[in-house]
């Protein structure tokens, strides 16, 4: 049960219970501000009945021609509010916005080791479109799956034909 509303600057003062989770990155301010200024409609926060921040999603729309698509930049849910379908509603929201923007597909990157997330995205209809080698820096670097789901505009599901060969991060547009 959620209240979905646009993310606002002051939420950054309150999202610690979500962001202190080790799998959620806290970015520099400018990063959030850029998304808020450019794609405010794609940045939504889910609030619990008691007013806590349960999670949020950040995204954007980009690409030209048939590559015009929605992208999930960050999706996170507080440990206290997992397994109640929250990530699904947030994803659903982002897909709806992308539909309205007449995008062809939605894509996202996920660590190949993050089995729980991969499984969730698969359940939501996403497929592994390609592997991006050493996308996440760290020790050692980790590969990412570029996962995709076609939207209604991509009638022939052209955007979700998986690539056979992995790509390097610099080849990702």
């Amino acid at each position: 049960m959620t209240t979905l509303r646009p993310f606002s600057c002051t939420d950054m003062y309150r999202f610690n219970n979500v962001n202190l989770d080790p799998l959620t990155e806290t970015y520099g301010l400018s990063f959030y501000m850029q998304y808020l200024a450019h794609w405010p409609e794609y940045f939504q926060v889910a609030e619990s009945p008691s007013g806590e921040i349960m999670g949020y999603i950040m995204g954007k729309a980009e690409g030209v021609g048939e590559n015009w698509h929605g992208h999930v930049t960050a999706l996170t849910v507080s440990p206290d509010f997992r397994r109640i379908g929250l990530a699904a509603s947030l994803m659903n929201f982002l897909e709806e916005v992308s539909e309205k923007k007449r995008a062809y597909f939605v894509d996202l990157f996920v660590r190949v080791s993050n089995q729980i997330a991969i499984k969730m995205y698969t359940n939501l209809g996403y497929i592994v479109y390609r592997t991006v080698l050493e996308y996440y820096s760290g020790d050692p670097d980790e590969d990412a799956y570029d996962m995709r789901k076609a939207l209604s505009r991509d009638v022939n599901q052209k955007s979700v034909i998986p690539l056979v060969h992995p790509v390097r991060p610099e080849e990702v547009d």
Binding site: M12, P22, L23, S30, L36, A37, H38, P49, K100, K101
Partner: protein, 937 residues
């Protein structure tokens, strides 16, 4: 032909400049400078190279050289974009944003058809929030290039004049400006020029500010509404109908939304609210808003409302996810009934049963507790304790049994948390509480063994919450029995939990808090690092660690944390104007207000301002030479602190609590937090007087005879203001806020500040300094004696307090804070001695006209004072040694054994004592340096 030549030229130039940009980007300023000089040698008139040189020099810290180049360039009136950009960067880094405006104003005059220059001029006005100038430049730009975005910049600039400019204080002006904005948008619509969604959004924004909700609804229903592709039209409509008090319509819209998405909690709340609103408006007979059909399907009685909720529940029964929305809506309905003094039993049945039923359905989800806690206010105390008993019974785990599944365990945890929220841990005997702790820890350990192993280290353990509950009860015990052992036990428990779940940030936050209460700053620091707190969290969570370090004497840690914090704030303040320009660029006008507020919130952070002051005082503690004093920027935030705007940006809710006081009430709203804000503000203001008086003293020192009197007078004024403020604060007799509840942040530093004779000591030194400045031997004599006495009583008072302090780590921490304070006073006394010494130093110019005799007499007085300082420093040092040697050795075996932890009693103690030892060492180091420094006077 000529154009071609020009292009070739610019290509060559670009190639030459490229390396400079590259070096700058990679941060190699030295190489960049070499490259600049090389290019300037080849093309001495290339403005851009000079501008880049200015930027490079600035980054190398040579601000003066930068300014010389910039002034020369300005005289040349550059219009080349790259040059202007480089100059903009310089001014931006120096925070001289007005100069950027001037720069582009000149350029636009010279090249009035240049779109990019106009744009930059507009943005430069945005950076300084000059809305009028913004408007003018947007208009000029639109005249050059009639594009919609520029038109909208113009309109938005008018809106801002209305909301944040002159209209902010003048309602007529506001109305006038907003109507102008509305007319301009309407013209765009009438001319059929509206194209992008952002333009409609701006129109909506203007109409909202004018409260023209009817017009807004029309827009939503018309062709413009179609352009609002990203908005949820029915939600917007709902918002406006609400503003118009059209409750029937609100009700119908809510139902439509809920029938589609029954989990929208905000809509459920609106729905229930609208039921009661329309009931009331029917009674009042003012129901002219609806058409017949709508009225039929609107719910205007509690019965109909309940029916609708039940319908949704039944309809959703087939759904995969368990729907919490409609079930919780019943509580909302119940709350509204209670508010209106209508008995709820007839419709909803026994209210306790409602809770039990909800718990039965959703108790295995952690969110169940968060859902129900806000409605516990519907129960009276008796009902609460009945509910607590029922819930625990419902789970089916007695004193001798353990959960049979992870689900059952979660239900057990939820029941325990809710029962604490119901107040059932209150008024229990210490024995009973100890038994609870033991039981919780056993459950934790069992749960860890049974369900918590083999989880990824990033997961929180499923039974961790038992241990957290135990830590909370241990805290209760430490308050009730005034036993510090419980706190040490709690830390040991949390540390052992963190071995199993290294990512449990709740445990870390608690541990940091407890460590600080015990005075173990090092222990707190270790845990704090593992929280990986950064960026804005330095503000919202700065209070848990950085804000506490100032009282520990761990100076090296202080310096690190202060500098990180200050760097974040200053660099983000510079960046924050860019965010405003992005908003215009992308047309997200509705975010502008928010961005501007946010910028102010950040800049007016109380934590930030406190750290600014603490950092300067820390530098004063380190300061041992006149030139380093001169180099210190002693005016906090350039004396531009807006005291009445300072705000508390702490995220207090990051600490989970199951204390009944905060079941539904926000901690921010509590009386204690309001008190704390007042106290912190007073503390900061008092503390800033140290800096103001010192900075004024430096002016006295630097000034020549002619202007000196003026500075002396302002110094006396500051000292007087300080006294007035302090008297006022003392008169109010502010008490430290309660520490009984775990969610309260630490009490203000005000109290220990007032316990230390900051003002009287510093004033005594200042008086002496002023007597020297006035060349008044008699005054010097008496003020010197007075300062000596002040110093003596400073250490005497400290001795009295610390030597009688109980052998409890919490008391010890407070004593340490007083040591740290007294050391600050001593160090500032030392700084004033340096200044006094400089003041009477015979200079070349003075030598001729002044008599030698009184000067040396003044020097004698200074030496008397210096000697007294040395005496007191030695005393303080001995006192610290004696105090820290008085080790608290106590047996913790009992408590640790009862916690069933494999921690050695001596280890826990040793760690805490070690942290104190580090503090003492650092303080002794400072004292030693001061003695050395005083020898040179």
């Amino acid at each position: 032909m000529s154009r071609h030549v020009q292009n070739a030229d610019s290509a060559v130039l670009e190639r030459r400049l490229r390396p400079i940009y590259d070096w700058l980007d990679s941060g190699n300023n030295k190489k960049a400078l070499q490259e600049c000089d090389k290019v300037i040698k080849k093309t001495p008139n290339l403005q851009c190279a000079k501008a880049l040189k200015a930027l490079t020099l600035l980054r190398m810290g040579r601000e003066n050289d930068t300014n010389v180049i910039l002034d020369n360039l300005n005289a040349e009136k550059p219009i080349d974009e790259a040059t202007l950009q480089a100059m903009t960067l310089c001014y931006r880094e120096m925070q001289e944003l007005e100069k950027i405006c001037k720069l582009y104003e000149t350029a636009v005059k010279l090249d009035p058809t240049h779109e990019e220059l106009h744009t930059q001029l507009f943005m430069s006005h945005v950076r300084v929030s000059d809305f009028k100038a913004q408007q003018q430049s947007a208009m000029a730009l639109y005249k050059q290039k009639p594009k919609n975005p520029y038109y909208c910049w113009n309109v938005m600039s008018i809106v801002l004049q209305a909301t944040r400019g002159e209209g902010a204080t003048d309602p007529t002006k506001r109305k006038l400006l907003l109507s102008l904005a509305e007319r301009m948008m309407k013209k765009l619509v009438d001319d059929d020029k509206v194209d992008a969604e952002q333009e409609v959004q701006l129109y909506v924004l203007v109409l909202e500010l004018l409260d023209k909700y009817d017009d807004l609804i029309k827009i939503l229903d018309g062709p413009l509404g179609e352009k609002l592709q990203c908005a949820n039209l029915s939600h917007l409509k709902l918002k406006y109908c609400k503003k118009l008090n059209r409750w029937t319509q609100v009700n119908v819209i809510c139902k439509e939304i809920l029938n589609e998405s029954f989990d929208r909690w905000d809509i459920w709340k609106e729905y229930v609210n609208s039921v009661f609103k329309s009931t009331n408006s029917c009674i009042n007979g003012d129901s002219q808003e609806f058409s017949g059909d709508e009225f039929d399907c609107a719910d205007n009685t509690a019965e109909k409302c309940h029916e609708f909720i039940c319908c949704v529940i039944e309809g959703g029964a087939a759904n995969d996810f368990l729907l919490r929305g409609p079930f919780l809506a019943r509580f909302e309905l119940c709350a509204k009934l209670q508010e209106n003094n209508i008995p709820s039993n007839d419709i909803l049945g026994d209210i306790i049963e409602l809770f039990v039923e909800y718990f039965r359905k959703f108790g295995h989800k952690p969110c169940c507790v968060s859902d129900l806690r806000i409605y516990l206010k519907l129960l009276n105390d008796e009902q609460k304790s009945e509910l607590a008993t029922k819930l625990v019974k419902e789970v089916g785990i007695g004193p001798t049994s353990i959960p049979q599944s992870a689900n059952q365990m979660q239900r057990h945890i939820g029941a325990l948390q809710l029962s604490r929220l119901c107040g059932s841990h209150r008024n229990l005997s210490p024995e009973h509480l100890r038994a609870l702790v033991t039981a919780f820890i056993l459950h934790y350990q069992h749960g860890y063994q049974a369900y918590g192993k083999d989880l990824p280290f990033t997961d929180l353990g499923p039974s961790d919450n038992y241990a957290l509950l135990a830590a909370h009860v241990l805290y209760d015990l430490s308050r009730i029995e005034n036993g510090v052992d419980y706190l040490i036990g709690a830390v040991a428990l949390l540390e052992s939990l963190l071995k199993n779940s290294p990512s449990n940030f709740h445990a870390k936050l608690l541990a940091v808090k407890f460590y600080h209460m015990l005075g173990d700053g090092m222990g707190a620091n270790n845990i704090f690092y593992s929280l990986d707190i950064k960026h804005l969290q330095l503000d919202s969570l700065g209070y848990i660690h950085c804000g506490q370090l100032a009282t520990t004497g761990l100076y090296s840690l202080c310096a690190i944390h202060y500098d990180t914090t200050l760097k974040f704030f200053s660099s983000n303040y510079k960046d924050s104007t860019d965010h405003l320009t992005f908003s215009y660029k992308f047309g997200s006008f509705h975010k502008l207000d928010e961005f501007m507020d946010f910028r102010e919130t950040m800049n007016n952070s109380m934590h930030y301002t406190t750290v600014v002051v603490d950092r300067i005082i820390l530098s004063l503690v380190d300061c041992s030479r006149l030139d380093s004093l001169y180099n210190l920027d002693i005016s906090p935030k350039d004396n531009k602190i807006e005291w009445d705007k300072l705000g508390d940006n702490r995220d207090l809710k990051v600490y989970v609590t199951w204390d009944p006081e905060f079941a539904s009430q926000d901690i921010e709203e509590s009386e204690e937090i309001k008190q704390l804000y007042i106290q912190d503000l007073k503390f900061l203001k008092l503390r800033t007087h140290i800096l103001w008086s010192l900075s004024c003293g430096i002016e006295v020192l630097k000034s020549l005879d002619g202007t000196r009197q003026k500075h002396i007078e302002s110094l006396q004024k500051i000292l007087k203001d300080w006294k007035d403020l302090e008297d006022d604060v003392r008169e109010n007799n502010l008490k430290p806020i309660s520490e009984d509840l775990i969610a309260y942040p630490p009490p203000s530093r005000l109290h220990s500040f007032l316990q230390t004779s900051y003002r009287t000591s510093i004033k005594a030194f200042m008086d002496f300094f002023l007597a020297l400045a006035a060349d008044n031997e008699q005054e010097a004599d008496s003020t010197c004696k007075n300062a000596e006495l002040e110093l003596e009583s400073l250490t005497q008072r400290l001795e009295k307090i610390v030597m009688t302090a109980a052998s409890d780590f919490r008391e010890k921490r407070k004593a340490m804070e007083l040591f740290v304070n007294s050391l600050e006073v001593i160090c500032i006394g030392c700084v004033l001695c340096i200044m006094s010494s400089e003041l009477i130093k015979p200079s070349q110019a003075k030598k001729g006209k002044k008599k030698q005799a009184p000067e040396s007499k003044l020097k004698d007085f200074l030496h008397l004072l210096v000697n007294q300082l040395k005496t007191q420093i030695n005393k303080l040092s001995d006192l610290l040694t004696n105090w820290s040697n008085a080790v608290i050795e106590k047996d913790l075996v009992n408590i640790l054994e009862s916690l069933n932890l494999n921690t050695h009693s001596s280890d826990s103690h040793k760690n805490i004592t070690q942290s104190y030892a580090v503090s003492c060492k650092e303080i002794q180091g400072v004292l030693k340096n001061k003695l050395k420094m005083l020898d040179t006077i």
